[in-house]
Structures are given as structure tokens and as C-alpha cells.
Symmetry: C2
Subunit: 205 residues, 2 copies
DNA sequence: CATCAAAACATAGCGACGCTATGTAATGTG
DNA sequence: CACATTACATAGCGTCGCTATGTTTTGATG
């Protein structure tokens, strides 16, 4: 008994906001709607305000991250896969540094918290496979090791993408992950090879 | 042949900004000078604008961090000291989460870049001592290992202080640092004890 | 010590910000 | 078809950072 929202408008604003963010143009209420034909009120009908837009943008960031991680193919070497997931995580953060920063800006009131969990879940399952393959000890808690891998990935992404470390510092990912996975029980030399293979061409940077 | 700046005004504004940040009050040009007796122009005289104020605030953050790290006493166990420095780093970030976020917000155009280097230097020297004590292999590059320790500390601080991980996640620091230092050559069991001792009462959180 | 240029300082106002109040047009429902 | 309800457009409010303008203070100079 009323008018319905047009989903196209919502995604239009979201895409445009993401694009402006990548182009390093300031995303304001007025600049966002400028040239789109819609008025400033659209932001309030679809997002409830600018805060809601940023929240939706964080969500979009996690969705893109999940999509990026989904492209990482599962191989016979779960340790390689773990490193590959880390490399994909970093590549995504470095290709969209502004969006990545927004994702971790503040307030994790995501509409769909599952989107954030999904990314961590990929890591958890890889750790689980490494355990069943005998690469990691039985005592290893998959969620804990996954969180620790995430900590390394996020630390590196944060310091390189928007921080003081140069792109070259991405190479630290290999020894860091190797150290972590070795401490989980993997044989050092083999672990190093797996991580290097998974890290792939993120090394030359 | 002109009037001189009063350093007291500068530090007054800086302290007030840091306090407002800790109190989670919005730091704006007008709210900053409100009640101080000085006018909005003071921000331009001493900082050249709000951007300059944020820059000076980042500097202040690094200065406070350096002061905090300076309180960590050097012991006979360099690995313990490394963990203690990491714990101090995290404690500082968690006590001033907003200031910490500002520090890594964007643009590392610090007036005195040495302030940021000083914090890393403490780590480098600790790694060096661990090498001469035979805890770490000769091949270990102090700056690299220090940077990797920093990556872990920053990742943990960022994810806990303003991110999705609960305070309890700080306990991940122990296995992460232990794994890293073990990979540098330290004997695992001894390394773990040293790290736990250095991490101190950051464990209960 | 008087002078004066230069810099600090106070005030007012500009453009842009996010947001809201108000009026209008469109549309799904009975 | 009629109407209630919602999307949508416009205008305006308070606040933001910043700057233009005028005043006051002050330190070097003759």
C-alpha cells in the first residue's frame, strides 16, 4: 500500500561510494548524489544517513574480501592454501586500501555479521585440513591458529597499505607465517616451501 | 621584530585535544578552543590548521609510546625484554585507543620522524642482545625481526583496540611471539617461558 | 627610548558539511 | 477507483574548517 524501494538505487550509491573511495575523492552526502539524478534524501531512505552508508560500505568490503578469498583454489597442500589465503587477503587490502581502512575504522555493527565470519572460516577449515593431514599437531585449536594468521595478515596489511612500511615489507609475510605454522607442528623446511608457494607472486610486489 | 609564539598555548591545545580524544568528545576547531580563552586562529598560528593539529597529535602519540617503552627495564633475558616491549606497546594502545588510531590514520608526515624510529630501535637493540647472548641465530637480521615483532604487535593492537577481537585475544601475543622468536633460533621451551614472563600481567586482561 | 614593521590575536563571514522539516509525486492495497 | 503510505525533491538549519579583515602586542632598530 505504498511505494517500494528500488534496489538499483541502493547499489548505485554503494558502487559509486566505493569508486569514489578508490579514486580518493571525498565521499560526502552531496558529492555522492551529484550527477546521479537522485537527491540527498535517497541516502536517508536507503541507509538512514551517512553512518549507515559507511556501515554498508564496510559490509561491501567484507563481501569483496570473501569473494576474493573464494577465488583461492584448494590444493593438496593445506599449508600452501593458508599462505595463499593470506596473500589474497593482502592483495585485496592493497588494491583497495581506502575501503580496507574503512572496514576497520570503527564499530563492527555489520548488517550481516556472517560476511566477516566467512572470511575467518576459510582459514579455520584450512587449518583443520592441515591437522587431518598430519601437518599440524592434534592440540592445535583451528580457530586460534586462524585468528593468529589473521593477526599477522592484518598487521601487515595495515602497516603497508596505509602505514609506514613500504610495499617491500610484504615479504615479511613468509617468515611470519612460516614461524607460526612451524610452531603448530609443521616441519620447518617443508613449511617454508609451502608458504612460499602459497604466497606466490606477492613476493616481488 | 615581531611577536613570538607562546609555547604554552601550543601544548595547551595539544593536551586538550588528546584529552578530548580520550574522552571520546569530538575534536573540532571550535570545541577545541572553547573555554580556553584563545580563539580559533590560535590553531592556525601554531598548527597551520586542523590537519597540522592531527599531525602534531600523531607525533604526541609516538612520543607517549616511546616514553611508555622507555619504562620497560632491560633485564638479563633479552627475549623476555622483547615480549615486555610488545606488552608495553599493546598496553599503551589499549589505554589510548583513539590516539592510537589517529597515529596510524594516514599520512606519516611527522615533524620528527625520529620519534617513530625510536620505538622500533628499542626492539632492534633487544634483538641484537638476543643474538650476542646466543639466543638467536647469527643470520637473523635485527631490523627484520624487530619489524616482524612490530607487525604482530600492531595487528593485535589494531584488531583488539578498535576492531572485532575481544580483549581476551591479547593472549594470542604469547604464542605468536614465541613462534617468531623460536624461528629465530631460540629454544622453544625456554623461549615460551621468557615470552610469558615478559608478557606479564597482560595475560589476564 | 621612541618607532615601526611584523606577527599574534579576535571577530565575522564564506562555502560545504550532515541532517531534517515540509511539500509533492508515485504506487501498492482494499 | 480511492486512499494511505512511502519514496522523493527542495529548502533551510546548525556546525564544520578556513580565511579575510582589523586590532593589539612586541621585539629589533636608529
Amino acid at each position: 500500500m505504498a511505494r517500494t524501494k528500488d534496489p538499483a538505487v541502493r547499489s548505485l550509491l554503494l558502487d559509486r561510494a566505493a569508486h569514489m573511495l578508490s579514486a580518493r575523492e571525498p565521499v560526502t552526502l552531496r558529492t555522492l548524489v551529484a550527477g546521479t539524478g537522485v537527491s540527498t534524501m535517497a541516502v536517508y531512505t536507503y541507509f538512514g544517513g551517512m553512518d549507515g552508508l559507511w556501515q554498508a560500505l564496510r559490509q561491501e568490503g567484507f563481501t569483496r574480501l570473501a569473494a576474493r578469498l573464494a577465488t583461492v583454489k584448494t590444493s593438496a597442500d593445506p599449508v600452501r592454501d593458508l599462505a595463499a589465503l593470506g596473500a589474497a587477503y593482502l592483495a585485496n587490502a592493497l588494491e583497495n586500501p581506502d575501503l580496507y581502512r574503512v572496514m576497520f575504522d570503527a564499530g563492527f555493527d555489520l548488517e550481516d555479521a556472517g560476511a566477516a565470519d566467512a572470511t575467518l572460516d576459510r582459514l579455520v577449515r584450512a587449518v583443520d585440513r592441515a591437522k587431518t593431514d598430519g601437518r599440524f599437531r592434534d592440540g592445535v585449536e583451528p580457530l586460534e591458529l586462524a585468528t593468529q594468521s589473521w593477526t599477522i595478515g592484518h598487521g601487515l596489511a595495515s602497516l603497508v597499505a596505509t602505514g609506514p612500511l613500504p610495499h617491500q615489507a610484504l615479504t615479511h609475510g613468509v617468515p611470519l607465517l612460516t614461524a607460526l605454522f612451524t610452531s603448530a607442528g609443521d616441519e620447518p623446511a617443508r613449511c617454508r616451501r609451502s608458504v612460499e608457494r602459497g604466497w606466490g607472486r606477492l613476493l616481488p610486489a
